[in-house]
């Protein structure tokens, strides 16, 4: 049952970490657009302070999530090089420019744009500040789309010059405009909405358990509930999660694949159920979500971790769908792999998962702390004479 080769372990290790950081990356993109909406509404309804309060709270969570996603990108870059060195020899002309482009966009966003988002609200005009928020959301979306297109292209390679080594992409439009990639983008957006919605509901429920919610917190709770419902709705309506096609040859290890599939199904069912209870109560009482029964609030606190876990597992399954090939029909996993011992890869995988568990626990812990005590604006201190 557990007769695992080093190649299978390497796949599991790589795709589990790729998926872990993708969750943070995708949620950062959706949080970025949420901040754009907050800024936009602030301009539209200047007298309504709720949107600005929401912006001030969620920009901190956005910054934290973005930092984890960025650090994860460094981790994935090193890990992909260490595990699949020959992939880059074959894929150099495709992956090379992409890596540089993504590095450049990340560089600009992290060093200039988020700095303005976090620290320069008082020193810039409101419109200029909003433009920076928009730039961050747009830039992060470009990175996410490029990465999703690349992952999709690995499953459906198109636009290549025939019989070239390394693979030469002659038609970049085929890379960007392939239908499968955009299905995947839509699916990922729905999953990310579910993730962010779950997080917002979770934090708001935590807040509601300790104190009466103010107007901005109530608004956050409602938006979170909407995002969760929309995410779940799109997933169910599209039937994406339940398509056997999605999980075709899903796992390197069939048992883990089946287990993960059932876990995703169960988590989504639980989330749908809690979302349904939440909305039924809301429609019946016409009261704010903060006044939900305490037991429902306790259940909703776990909506965030549950939705992120569902998102992570789905991403793992989606990544592992093509059993044999890294680049479908062109490069196998075995060709790309740098031979390592089973014991070494197992040990590294265990340590890596432990590290991810610590990061996830730390993130949840800090999000709940933020819900309890709030976040205050940060001054950037330079301790020099």
């Amino acid at each position: 049952m557990w007769d695992i080769s080093s190649l299978q372990l390497a796949k599991l290790q790589f795709f589990s970490s790729l998926s872990f950081f993708s969750v943070f990356g995708l949620c950062t993109v959706v949080l970025g657009w949420l901040l754009v909406v907050c800024k936009g509404m602030t301009h539209r309804q200047a007298a309504d302070g709720r949107w600005m309060d929401m912006y001030r709270f969620w920009v901190r969570i956005f910054a934290l999530s973005m930092t984890v996603a960025l650090l994860g990108m460094v981790f994935i870059l090193i890990q992909s090089g260490a595990l699949w060195p020959n992939l880059f020899v074959r894929l150099g002309p495709v992956s090379g420019p992409l890596i540089v482009l993504i590095a450049a966009i990340t560089f600009v966003i992290k060093l200039f744009v988020t700095d303005v988002m976090l620290y320069r609200q008082g020193s810039l005009s409101s419109w200029l500040h909003s433009i920076f928020v928009l730039l961050a959301a747009f830039g992060l979306s470009v990175i996410a789309v490029l990465l999703i297109c690349f992952q999709s292209w690995l499953h459906f390679p198109a636009g290549l010059a025939p019989d070239t080594v390394p693979l030469a992409l002659v038609d970049w439009r085929a890379f960007i405009l392939q239908a499968q990639a955009w299905h995947r983008v839509a699916f990922m957006i729905a999953m990310a909405c579910l993730g962010v919605g779950g997080l917002m509901v979770s934090i708001s429920a935590s807040e509601a358990l300790t104190k009466p919610l103010n107007a901005a917190e109530q608004l956050g709770f409602r938006i979170g509930a909407w995002l969760t419902a929309v995410g779940l709705g799109v997933l169910v309506a599209g039937g994406a999660v339940f398509q056997t096609e999605l999980f075709r040859q899903a796992a390197p290890l069939p048992i883990i694949g089946r287990w993960a599939q059932q876990a995703v199904f169960g988590l989504l069912l639980l989330l749908a159920l809690t979302s349904l209870i939440q909305w039924c109560w809301y429609l019946k009482r016409r009261s704010d979500f903060g006044k939900l029964p305490r037991w429902v609030l306790h259940v909703l606190v776990w909506a965030g971790p549950a939705s992120w876990l569902a998102l992570w597992l789905t991403h793992v399954l989606l990544s592992l769908r093509d059993g044999q090939y890294f680049v479908h029909g062109l490069v196998t996993y075995a060709e790309a792999f740098s031979e390592q011992g089973v014991v070494l890869i197992s040990a590294v995988t265990m340590v890596m998962w432990l590290l991810f568990a610590v990061i996830a626990a730390g993130f949840i812990f800090l999000a709940r702390r933020a819900a309890r005590y709030g976040v205050v604006p940060v001054r950037k201190i330079r301790r020099t004479a």
Binding site: R60, L64, T67, V68, L70, L71, G72, V74, F75, L77, I78, Q79, S80, G81, A82, L83, P85, N86, F88, V89, G92, P93, S95, G96, P97, I99, V100, L101, I102, A103, A104, T106, F107, K110, L111, D115, P166, A168, S338, E339, Q340, L344, V348, M352, L355, I359, G362, L366, R369, A370, Y373, G374, V375, V376, R379, K380, I381, R383, T384, A385
Partner: protein, 351 residues
């Protein structure tokens, strides 16, 4: 000299096939040097934290804040350039470097996340994240040291060579600690400076041993490198370089002893340590050049293809303009003295 080198490769020095890979290599080298120095003292301060009191630790954390965002990028940029421009070289060595690279990846992830989490944590959780930051720094430095060690022994897998790689990794850890300690010595006064003096003296000896060990191993294991160093025309320069390097370590030790009495010397240990790091990198590049992987792949054989290299060069030219400016901006206060200020936190201290 450049014409001779191009000629030996059967190329003209104006040929893009010659200068483009060279430019990519120069950018990679620049990023590596910047990472070793600018992220190096950050790593060093991180590793020294367990030896400081909690009040000193809080101050040390605050020192690292201004360039935290920028420091995340050095490894990222280095890997991005290596993977995109020199995938063949990467493929050749990375199989032998799986464990060191994973240590490096895990360490940089842990220290980055721990720093951010600590900023937002309450008093109780801060010590946990501070310990994680120190451990992450240690893993990163050790991983980098192992990479260097494995290169120095030419990826030999004999137990003796593996042990030697571990020894070199420990020496690299000491070198980063030395960088961090000399930087603290320059920035602070009071008890922390006194403590930093002790750290400098302890770390400098192990760092010196490491420099000697890397050089000897590189020369002994690789005949080509030994020949390059001992060639009659180069030998005097190499010897002068060697003595200068050892003199720098002696000078660091002497200056640290006098630093309390002669305040003007306070900058000297840090500058000397930076010079040591630069000398080691320069020595390594001199030994290996024009190879990327010693005796196996030259810089020109490691590139992915001229079409891709052209795209990369266009991006790098932009980086060459922007990166130094951004670096200067971010690190503008790096050499300044400490000013007393409150610790930074995102959270209200309600208990």
């Amino acid at each position: 000299m450049i014409d001779t080198l191009a000629g030996s490769l059967g190329l003209n020095s104006y040929d893009p096939g010659f200068w483009m890979p060279l430019l990519c290599f120069t950018v990679f080298l620049g990023v590596s040097i910047a990472g070793a120095v600018l992220d190096g003292f950050d790593l060093g301060v991180g590793m020294l934290m367990p030896f400081a009191t909690s009040e000193q630790r809080a101050r040390m954390f605050t020192f690292l804040g201004p360039w935290r965002d920028m420091n995340v990028f050095w490894i990222f940029l280095g890997c991005a350039i290596l993977l995109s421009a020199f995938p063949k070289a990467w493929a050749y060595v990375s199989g032998a470097l799986y464990l060191p690279l994973m240590l490096l990846a895990a360490g940089s992830l842990l220290r980055g996340v721990a720093y951010e989490f600590r900023l937002r944590a309450l008093a109780g959780g801060r010590s946990v994240f501070a310990a994680a930051f120190a451990f992450g720094s240690l893993l990163t430095a050790f991983g980098q040291g192992l990479v260097l060690g494995r290169i120095a022994v030419n990826f030999d897998t004999e137990p003796g060579s593996q042990l030697f790689s571990v020894f070199i990794a420990l020496c690299i850890v000491a070198t980063f600690m030395l960088l961090g300690a000399t930087w603290l010595l320059m920035r602070v006064e009071d008890d922390l400076q006194l403590q930093a003096r002790g750290w400098v003296r302890r770390a400098s000896r192990l760092a010196a041993a490491g420099v000697v060990a890397v050089s000897v191993a590189l020369g002994m294991v690789n005949g080509g490198v030994f020949f390059k160093w001992t060639e009659t025309t180069r030998l005097p320069v190499v010897l002068i370089g060697w003595f200068a390097l050892l003199a720098m370590f002696v000078l660091i030790e002497l200056v640290v002893r006098k630093v309390q009495r002669v305040r003007i010397l306070i900058w000297l240990p840090f500058i000397l340590t930076v010079l040591v790091v630069l000398s080691v990198i320069a020595g390594l590049v001199f030994s290996i050049f024009p190879f990327f992987v010693l005796d196996e792949l030259t810089i020109w054989e490691s590139v992915t293809g001229l079409g891709t290299t052209r795209l990369l060069v266009a991006a790098f030219v932009l980086f060459l303009v922007v990166l130094p400016l951004v670096t200067l901006w971010y690190y503008r206060d790096m050499l300044g003295k400490e000013r007393k200020a409150k610790d930074v936190s995102f959270m209200k201290r309600t208990h």
